[in-house]
Amino acid sequence: MKRASTRIAPPSRPAERVAPAAPALAARTAFPLRREGPAKLTGEARYADDLVFAGAWYGATIRSDDPHATLIAIDRDPDFDWSRVLIVTADEIPGENVVSLISDDQPVLVPVGGEIRHHAEPVALLAAADRSTLHAAKRRIQLRTERLPAVFDPLASTQQIAHFAIRRGDAEKGLADAELIVEGEYRVGHQEQLYIENQAMIALPRDDGGITVHGSLQCPYYIHKAMKRALNLTDAQAVVIQSETGGGFGGKEEYPSMIALHAALLARKLGKPVRMIYDRHEDISATTKRHPAIVRHRTGVTRDGELVAQEIEVVMDGGAYATLTPVVLSRGTIHAGGPYRCENVTITGRAMATNTPPNGAFRGFGAPQTEFAAEMQVNRIAEALDVSPLELRRRWAYREGDVTPTGQVLRESVAALEVLEAAAETAGFSRKRTDRRRASTSGGTRASGIGLALAWHGAGFTGAGETHLASVASIELTDVGAIRVLTASTEMGQGTKTIFPQLVAAELGIGIDEVEMAPQDTSLVPDSGPTVASRTAMVVGRILIGAARKLRARVEESSGQPFPRSYRDFAKRNGGIRIDERFEPYPGITFDEERYVGDAYPCYGWAAAVAEVEVDLDTGEVAVESVVSADDVGRVIHPVLAEGQVEGGTLQAVGYATMEEIKLADGRYLNDRLATYLIPTALDAPRITSILVEKPFSGSPHGAKGVGELPMDVAAPAVVAAIHDAVGVWIHELPATPERILAALSGASAPDTPGSEPGTRSGARANRAAPARGVDPRPEAPSDPLPLRAPQDKGGDWERDR
């Protein structure tokens, strides 16, 4: 069933003080308008850098220039007046020198005598009352280091961060029995989240000796925990308050803890507020990226197209510290086979440490990497078998009752075929593909193509993650008769502040405007877990519905009247009540974390995309003309917001597929500014059609499964398939840049195109990123219009052309 006609709450006006220009506008909207929309549209919304605190100083981070070194000393220029500058080093950290996350491997600051493990690693902190003093002071600090050998290639690394193995059936035997074996190696590079609001955190000393931080963040309680440990604070002394957050996409999941600790350390010593606002250059240079990955497939099929065996090896580049790498790898590994039924599967995943900035959470969380490879593989198999890629997926896609590689029986809510057919039909996939085949002989300078991909995405945390989290969400009926929702779930554009009131209002039978949202402030709201993993609507929404039902029952029992008519009187008579509802495990869902067997997720979302491209045959330039994305989200709560997620995720995937690339030299990102790290503009963006498919999950009262990450998994392989359809070459490595396409078309083996030996490819990549004088046939001529910056070279104004 397509696009919901579900109406969970009646139409509504925004609750904020600015009303729409004409009432008619609101009346046309069948769903509530974005709760904080008017504030965002008038400029009243306060993002971290918009907050003013009297007497605040400005903070800065001194970072390493080495990818791997021993820190010998932090030298201050004796000729500089340091009396106006505050400095904090690792020895002043009151608690543990650890950014608390999964492993305790990452320091808040590298101590003198300690090991620098990546370029741009924080070493010391500065603050000053004005920016020019701060800027001057930054230049008067020198790090004395001793270089250590650095590793940049995950395949050459001997340090394993995490490892998973999934086995079902006997892949070896399956491959031996197969009539055709298709092998492939696929690579994806770093991707920057590129929220348009840079990372920002402001710390304020508290009267109780603790610290309050205001900032741009996804996970208040991650920061809360990190502050307690590193700063030796009690629960009450560490307070985290989310300011309006200008995008996250995973990039504000773990790194804000680091920034909060830095700001807090300075504020604590100074006794005044300290603002730690990153500029874009620092943000790209230092913060986490999507993990690069190398994925190898061996797939056994029969001549008539049965999938017999899959053998898959995933290697991720974790960067210098573990951050969230084990869980990213876990999700990537579980999803690596794609949404296809196969009796014999072996998947191994390992994440290796390198001397590059740590990689971390980014929308999709490991799945876009491995599902790109899986879809490439399926498309290449379809080509080898001379079957339509649509037809092959029809045969292979999961149905209810099928069993996944972890042995999970897909008992319900399987919509692989529905999304596949919806996307293919809407895009006219079969017809256009056939028509194009016929037309492709005519000469020309441009070729068009159409491509298809299918994906699945486990909803919520992996395995027993949600049980461990044991999230709490609350609803309060205040003593003045207001309804308040209390969660730590953050709004960063995806719509939390709109759908929670919507769900609660529907459950209580009241208007959405009657439901208030408490601010995301750890001193006020319970720990409802991080705002990640597409879990907010599905998991926290479910807890809230449970809380609302209890509240309703309490009031109705007492008053004997329906809730909407009685709750205000109830509050007046009995005072306020607050229902704290804790996550209840989904019935019948079990996962063995040791053996990686069982129900990896309570349910899955499903997505299919069809992309159409036009490729310039002379230049390899790709125009992605359109993408149709069909996404099964269980139940649509708010179609406008859900479509917004699909459209935005699709464009991020298109950027991933075509242009978003980071080159490294000596472990340092070269594309570290917005002039060099490119995301699609409105002119690069395809027309995006989103189809919302509903296959509800019975474990949630509202049936919702989450939407945020699905589209990110599926559009990139569809784009690359379309490029193949247009020009006849497979691009095995993302992004499919014009450089790679042209090299593939020329038949030349470009450094990054498939065909070279697996073990040497990253080496080739590193060489390519190094200053390229040696590559130039006339190296003596400084012929470069835009020379690469050497690691220490801050000079050169080559960036501009205006």
């Binding site: 920016r131 230049t619 002039a675 060099t676 001529a781 020379p787 801050k794 104004d797 205006r802």
Partner: protein, 287 residues
């Protein structure tokens, strides 16, 4: 966050005042600021010591036709180039180039004079000036002088303009029957710096169909915008057919020297420069 440096600035309203200040030394002119403001971040390049705001020098504005010349003031913005009926009539390729620079915000502010003085090897309008025998008029308290475009960009980000001189205007000779083609290969469709940018101009010899006065200029393939002299020699007097195209691209491949950088590769730039030229010649031949 606010720029690291906020150098002192003077905003003269007469050219004489501007010249006097420039003569003192240490001043960097600012017009639309799309390049210079970025340098004040301190992230790329050394910020200037002092800044000379030339935006009030109204004599540097305007687009006009003067005898056999198209005269464009240095303060002409890309938006003005795009909207000018004179440009549309006399040199539409320049409007085409202006449309590929940045996006609306940059086009409103960035100026032709800035593109010229900034001297980026990737400057998008510069190949057009090279390919149309344009001259750049610079002035100082000492004199005004006219420099052929071919002699203006002399090295990596280096021009023939002296520190005390301002770029005043550009003069493009109007040649009857001249055709100009422009092509930019950018990193994306807007807000993009070119990987290769090319302008080709010629006059068609009506009877024989041969090309005369051929000029080919490129950006992003060398340390400065260049004329492709050897390729021009092959195209001169030739007809735009397949064989000419083959010979021309062979010459072009030999005379450009792009390298790898953060945006592209030498191999790609060389391949694309030749393929784009090949296509331009083919397209013209099939007209």
């Amino acid at each position: 966050m606010p720029n690291a440096v906020e150098p002192p600035v003077a905003s003269p309203s007469s050219l004489q005042d501007a010249y006097a200040l420039l003569a003192k030394g240490g001043y960097r002119p600012i017009a639309g600021g799309t390049d210079l403001m970025v340098q004040l971040t301190g992230e790329i390049g050394e910020p200037p010591e002092r800044v000379l705001d030339i935006s009030r020098l109204d004599r540097l504005r305007g687009i006009e036709r003067n005898a056999g010349w198209l005269v464009i003031g240095a303060l002409t913005t890309y938006t003005e180039l795009r909207r000018s009926p004179l440009i549309a009539e006399l040199l539409p390729a320049l409007a085409e180039a202006a449309a590929t620079i940045g996006a609306a915000q940059i086009q409103q502010r960035g100026t032709l004079g800035g593109n010229i003085a900034n001297a980026s090897p990737a400057g998008d309008t510069l190949p057009i000036l090279l390919a149309t025998d344009a001259r750049i008029v610079v002035g100082s308290g000492r004199q005004e002088r006219t420099i052929p475009a071919t002699e203006f960009w002399i090295g990596y980000r280096t021009t023939a303009r002296a520190d005390d001189e301002l770029v005043l205007r550009v003069e493009v000779p109007l040649v009857s029957d001249r055709r100009v083609r422009f092509r930019k290969i950018g990193t994306r469709r807007a807000q993009a710096i070119s990987k290769v940018v090319m302008a080709l101009s010629w006059s068609a010899d009506g009877r024989a169909g041969a090309w005369r006065n051929v000029r080919l200029a490129l950006g992003s393939v060398a340390e400065r915008p260049i004329r492709a002299w050897e390729t021009e020699a092959i195209l001169e007097g030739a007809r735009p057919d397949e064989e000419t195209a083959e010979r021309a691209v062979a010459a072009l491949a030999a005379e450009i020297h792009p390298i790898d950088d953060v945006r592209s590769t030498a191999e790609y730039r060389r391949a694309v420069a030749t393929r784009v030229l090949h296509r331009l010649i083919r397209e013209e031949g099939s007209r």
